[in-house]
Symmetry: C2
Subunit: 216 residues, 2 copies
Amino acid sequence: MSHFINNNFEDVLINRHSVRHFDPKVKISRDELQTMISEAITAPSACNLQPWRFVIVDTVEGKEKLASFFMKFNKPQLETSSAIVFVFGDTQAYKSYRDLWNKAYEDGRITAEKRDEVLKTFLPLYEAASYEGLIHDAKTNSSLAAMQFMLVARGHGYETNAIQGYNAKVAAETLGLNPERYVPNMAIAIGKPDPNNLPSEIKSTRYTTEDVCQFL
Amino acid sequence: MSHFINNNFEDVLINRHSVRHFDPKVKISRDELQTMISEAITAPSACNLQPWRFVIVDTVEGKEKLASFFMKFNKPQLETSSAIVFVFGDTQAYKSYRDLWNKAYEDGRITAEKRDEVLKTFLPLYEAASYEGLIHDAKTNSSLAAMQFMLVARGHGYETNAIQGYNAKVAAETLGLNPERYVPNMAIAIGKPDPNNLPSEIKSTRYTTEDVCQFL
């Protein structure tokens, strides 16, 4: 794991704002993008299923594919970002679950008993789950990795904008994924802010804690 | 905003692990729980709709309600955590959207033109959205706040465990929320780890970056 350029948690968290106009001259290496993904996927997931999949679009051809199904108001991010990371949920992550735990056993990290206990407890829940239930886990858990990616980006000195304005029905297929298996969650534009088009200093209006939480 | 006890972003992110056995003697004040929520809800959301709702359960009576629909293997967290924060998605967040932007205008933070532009661009998308689409935004966006809450907890010196093993059908109603409006996302147990029952040092097995991402 790399050390972060910005390792101030409070700053990373509190001063994150959506940036829609990036400096188009800034490129991010694929190595660094992969490092950021590896840091983002330390997110937790139900039963450690890790039901996420990332398509990183950093070529003109790839961005043209995105443009074909993105809403128009997201054009600035598409045109100026260094990359767009499209986050999908994987509804069939449970099918690799046996292999994942077998590998942990073969690597000597857990006992055969522990492996068998995990598989016996959790795998049947997924094998019997409805498609709707699998979508729920895939979407909510891949969002956890998506949020970590946005914070990790700031740790690396970049800014992001999460995008859900697109035709979700064609997203997976257009990006070369099986649409039955992979459900689109959100796209995240990443780059350095355009110094000539900085976001306004006005923070977006937020509800108060009292508006959104209650005790029981 | 408070300063974090642990403000080392790399440590907060990389060394977060699920804790299932908490020290039952540790209480967290409602003030601090609310502060953590206020930090978590700096998360982004589509069109700034903020479609999240938190029920914070920190009483014996509240935990008994949770126990009535949680799966058995989540009993240790229920019994030992300082609190359980149940995260819901709000499928009707768009109904407060006009008030939110009017308030920003009345507070002198945006112009009437900007307010009208935002409302004209985004509100019709939600007013015409399917219930399925509203659930998508509610679940994925409230997950972003959930992830931030888990990291914020570490900033405050606590650990968490995200839980999705419960009967989702009865969650909202049992906790006093309208089940049509609020969709259950996940529950997050929070507290200090039990010093007599620390998690094993073995990190959960993870897929590699190559397993879960591709370039386009």
